[in-house]
Assembly symmetry: C2
Homo-oligomer: 223 residues x 2
Amino acid sequence: MHTSSPASERGDVSRKALIEAALIEFASHSYHAASNRDIADRAGVNQALIAYHFGGKEGLYLAVFETISERIQSRLQPALQAIADNLAQSESSEAAQERRIELLQGLFESLVRLFADPGLKTSAQLVLQEQQQPTRAFDILYRRFMCEALQRVTDLVQLLRPEKSRDEVSLLVITLVGQALVFRAARTTVLRHLQWDDIKPAQLQAILQQVRANVLALLSPQD
Amino acid sequence: MHTSSPASERGDVSRKALIEAALIEFASHSYHAASNRDIADRAGVNQALIAYHFGGKEGLYLAVFETISERIQSRLQPALQAIADNLAQSESSEAAQERRIELLQGLFESLVRLFADPGLKTSAQLVLQEQQQPTRAFDILYRRFMCEALQRVTDLVQLLRPEKSRDEVSLLVITLVGQALVFRAARTTVLRHLQWDDIKPAQLQAILQQVRANVLALLSPQD
DNA sequence: TTGACTTAATCAAGTGATTAACTAACCTTC
DNA sequence: GAAGGTTAGTTAATCACTTGATTAAGTCAA
């Protein structure tokens, strides 16, 4: 497997191919059940390269989570940036509050699209696995995007619900996330109950509409 | 490992010990990563008994899910029975509608307690795993309790939202389930964001209050 | 003695890691 | 600008170890 490119690039190609292959293998089997040989075969390289480039199986596993973090971060970036901008100017008119609800609806739309996207199935599986049995990989996920995202959303909801304690607001945010998460974490049940064979564009629209309505109902002023 | 009990009982003891040990091992590692030897050691029996009693590793895996299904079913039984009773008499007074919301709050309280219970951590992990990569074990779960539970809840919500289509109601139910599910599926994130080290009784009460409020907000007449 | 139950021993296959040998681009040095 | 050493990258072969399954022998209440 030798290409006619500069030596420094060849290594990068192998690294990326290994991470991509490992993402698939670690997701479809678990960490222990995925084998270095299968990963290397899928990447089209020799399995000794895993030790060479990543120090071993665990190093490759962690590298996969760096990649996952970047991808999810970039998917949520626009919606999170809009929220950060709004937080900078703490206006409290009624129109401003409505605008904040719209921003949250936008974020949860991004979240639903993230969870529904078949392309992120493998990544989502790995994240869920880490939620159940966190390893050092979970720290990567939390530091890279979870912590900041949750903080910002909680800050914004706090502005909508100034009478609530911080913990109450945090709990509300968690349940809001749950409404989107369920479409990934319990996907098979969802598909069976709704008698869908997959989440196609039409189904995605129905979900988005429901989540949008829920966010409004749970955050609109009157209660 | 020979007790002085009738032969017919000895087999049962081994079977149950193996299922219990397998529940733990399959959850803490995955199906492929859990080894028959570790399971047998934990159960205190010889690993050849797995083949003898269950035909092999896969048979044991399926037997574990029969046990899980029974346990979850029995936990949800009271709340589901109350809903079934209410469905039998389709009254539509305002008081009856309020009563239905209370029944749903009761069910989701059971669901939250289920997901929060540390004793069902291993079972929940296995169910989540099957959601991501369903095998024949998922069919057991769905047939044994998921299908019926979702049907009943959806039926009840349909009575509260007669103007909505069946699919819309089903989606609403799914998002309601998500509010409870998140405390299991994203538990590590939840604990970190709220800076809890575990879900103790005080925290459980806070969660129950939030979920109860959400159910009310999403199902109360005005919208 | 029968028969359900249980065990230790063994099997081929697959595991992660390591090693020495090989390749090819790069960098001096003359 | 060729020669030759340097280096990162890559490979096949091999290591000790674990895997699920099988088998023949053993246990013990009925």
